[in-house]
């Protein structure tokens, strides 16, 4: 018996609709995040993540409705990220039915926000989401070295902050989990940035979720075996039906990674 490695489909939600598109055959409305959540729940996903990328504050409340409707049907952990700036934002998401919140920009701007949030709601509820891009540095007389710089505002703003150092600081403040996304790899289908994932996973005691770049089932295996991630997050390979969650679990299991194979998702 061991803890199972988690597979986490991620849904990008804008104004209450899925934006990358989800192409399940059995969905009535492929743009409805709740339908997609129900389909993933039935398919054996271990958790779900919604990233709210709604730009206008007018439509921010749509995510609460999405989370609330999801909680009616899916009895599995749900994380919500995007636009989480205040303790009140977290409280509203939890009351709607979220289990964890992912904090990105606000964690960089005000690291104490993470500490306040963790004190109030518990470490287990606070995921710090780290968007990082590779950069090369060169100390005098040394070889070029790769490191990773974190970005905020959905990857638009560089910060000059080193990702591995930042990760350690966030865990000190009370982050219970880290969602590490390689911006170099995101959307490329060329696999996780395994060095980034491993550098962070090996330096903190909390679980790390690998994200950004999954194109094949081998990428998922590598994220765990080489990246040392506790969970893998993917969007398009599942949304576009390239692979089902079940196929991903079969494959990872064949490669020696323990998977949860409870036969179905709902009935008593």
């Amino acid at each position: 018996m061991t803890l199972k490695t988690r597979i986490i489909p991620c849904l990008d939600v804008k104004d209450g609709r899925v934006v990358k598109g989800v192409q399940f055959v059995d969905l009535i409305d492929a743009g409805d995040p709740v339908e997609a959540a129900i389909a993933y729940n039935a398919a054996g996903a271990d958790e779900l993540t919604f990233l709210d990328i709604t730009a206008s504050s007018d439509n921010r409340d749509t995510i609460f409705d999405v989370v609330a409707r999801t909680a009616e049907h899916c009895f599995m952990p749900v994380t919500v990220g995007g636009g989480v700036r205040k303790v009140e934002d977290i409280r509203k998401l939890l009351l709607a039915g979220a289990d964890k919140v992912a904090i990105n920009t606000a964690a960089v701007n005000d690291p104490d926000f993470v500490a306040r949030a963790a004190d109030k709601f518990g470490d287990q509820c606070i995921v710090v989401s780290i968007d990082a891009r590779r950069r090369q540095t060169r100390a005098p007389g040394q070889h070029n070295m790769d490191e990773w710089e974190i970005y905020t505002h959905g990857g638009r703003n560089p910060t000059g902050i080193d990702a591995v150092e930042f990760a350690a600081r966030m865990v000190e403040r009370g982050a219970g989990e880290l969602l590490v996304t390689s911006m170099d790899r995101d959307g490329t289908k060329s696999g996780f940035d395994l060095e980034l994932t491993r550098a962070i996973a090996d330096s903190v005691h909390v679980p790390v979720i690998a994200s950004g770049g999954v194109g094949s089932l081998d990428d998922l295996v590598d994220g765990v075996k080489k990246g040392h991630a506790s969970a893998v997050l993917a969007a398009s390979i599942f949304h576009f039906g390239t692979f089902t969650v079940g196929e991903a679990k079969d494959y990872m299991e064949r490669h020696g990674i323990p998977m949860r194979r409870d036969s179905n998702a709902g009935e008593i």
């Binding site: 803890l3 909680a71 039915g97 287990q124 679980p207 008593i268």
Partner: protein, 216 residues
């Protein structure tokens, strides 16, 4: 038809617990009314009582104490009245004699033992976060229809501390995570789960359904 109260003392994601209990009540056909409340009188009248809880032990204890009369009504109904009780996560940990998270804090003292930090071997991550199977240490009506062991169903855990029981007869189930982790404790009319049944899909809904039918 009976009433189940889920105690709201400012801790956690009560909507998902509410929805899971409603679903289980529908599917088991018990038709119970599920009430999320901080009203001491409603808890006094309840046929079944659920104490959820997330976050730190001391904060949850303080939150519970902040609702005037709640601890007293719990003692009255659960200990003296024999009302079926389910504690979830920190709600389960509060059943212990004391918590040793940050500071030493008194629990409800229903299950002799302490809540201590996990110390898994092999450099495993803390919190213990995710899906794990259970090993039943004894049979219990709330485990009916739930397979355990390697090929059994999974429960969703997320915690850094667990309840070390002093008396083996109160230990109902464990999980394996680089150490023996207490998963379920109980005695008489009370049960507590370290994992989240409301987040544990099939296993969780079955356990909640069993709780709704339980006649201790």
């Amino acid at each position: 038809m009976s009433t189940v109260t889920i105690i709201d003392y400012g801790s956690g994601n009560l909507r998902s617990a509410h929805k899971a209990f409603e679903r289980a009540a529908r599917e088991t056909g018990t038709g119970d009314t599920i009430l999320v409340t901080d009203d001491v009188e409603a808890v006094r009248r309840a046929d079944r009582i659920v104490l959820p809880g997330v976050g730190a032990f001391a904060d949850c204890r303080a939150g519970l104490d902040a609702v005037t009369g709640m601890v007293e009504v719990l003692e009255e109904r659960v200990i003296r009245g024999g009302v079926p009780f389910l504690g979830i996560c920190v709600g389960m940990q509060l059943m212990a004699t004391e918590g040793r998270e940050k500071a030493v804090t008194k629990g409800l003292g229903w299950i002799p033992g302490s809540v201590v930090r996990l110390e898994p071997k092999g450099g495993l991550k803390v919190p213990h976060m995710g899906w794990n199977t259970l090993t039943f240490r004894q049979s219990h009506p709330l485990l009916q229809g739930i397979p355990d062991g390697e090929t059994g169903l999974h429960a969703y855990f997320v915690h850094s501390y667990h309840l070390e029981t002093e008396r083996p007869e109160t230990l109902i189930a464990t999980a394996d995570y680089g150490q023996q982790v207490t998963a379920i404790v109980g005695r008489d009319n009370m049960l507590g789960t370290q994992f989240h049944p409301e987040k544990s899909q099939t296993l969780g809904l079955r356990l909640i359904g069993n709780f709704l039918r339980w006649k201790p």
